[in-house]
Amino acid sequence: MGAQLLTFGAAFLGSAVESVEALTIVLAVGLTRGWRSPLLGTLSALVLLGLLVAIFGQLIVTRVPELTLKLIIGTLIVLFGLRWLHKAVLRSAGVVALHDENRAYANTLEELRDAREQHDWIGFVLALKGVFLEGLEVVFIVIAVGGTSGGMGVAVAGGLLAMVVVAGAGVVVRKPLAQVPENTLKYAVGIILTSVGTFWAAEGMGAQWPLDFVSILGLAVLYFVATRIAIMLIRRPALA
């Protein structure tokens, strides 16, 4: 039950962060060029991402031995999680500016302004590219946590629910979700993924963790303390 919750939580939070970024692009395109092309682009990207999950998820679950899967996917999750933590630490410490959805929205509008006279496929391609590229991280999280924990359905459900929630919020608000604390979410997902990745990678290497799955909590505490130390060491006033 705990493993399933963790799988669902990691997929949900990771998908929510990336969905917010994808929504910003789709909104910018839709509100300036009309909704038909960006919605088609979004739908095409979602179909492509769904295919990736289906193909790679199936291959991983049916073809790769469990220990090898844990070692390889665990290692990849550690690298992925550390990258998110690295960025979250630098943003929390004020070394790198926080991701700003309003600025991303303005940049996309600027990009579209130059292309106003061209055909509508630009709206399609921009939405397709934005949703597909942001979605690749979601695909990795879903396949990695779902495939290794044996809860692919739970991971897919977590990822899909987050997309639906964010899309719903976008339909209601009709502007970028700038109030979503993206850095905090990335920080939390980075801690979860790095802890889970370390747990699985070590199991794939043949290690036996004391208290089995509960050890992930200990690893999460370790990585959380490390990031607080890092932030404390490098903190300086937030960038404007």
Binding site: L79, L85, K129, M205, L222, Y223, T227, I234
Partner: protein, 69 residues
């Protein structure tokens, strides 16, 4: 073509932000693997996690110093 390039760099970027940090993490995991297969001591897995945590602190501090300079 530019879409393909973006997709490839996005996939690489999933795991690599700073090459030095990523290589260090892989080396720590590889050394941990060798040690675990040789010695079978439970504490080694925690030592490996501790090493990863320490390298995170060092890598972020180093990048912060570089950006300040």
């Amino acid at each position: 073509m530019s879409f393909l390039r973006s997709a490839i760099s996005e996939v690489v970027g999933l795991f690599v932000g700073d090459w030095f940090q990523s290589v260090t993490s892989v080396v720590i995991l590889a050394v941990g693997w060798l040690a675990l297969t040789r010695f079978h001591v439970a504490g080694l897995a925690f030592a490996m996690a501790l090493a990863l945590a320490v390298q995170l602190v060092l890598a972020t501090s180093a990048e912060a110093r570089r950006k300040k300079a």
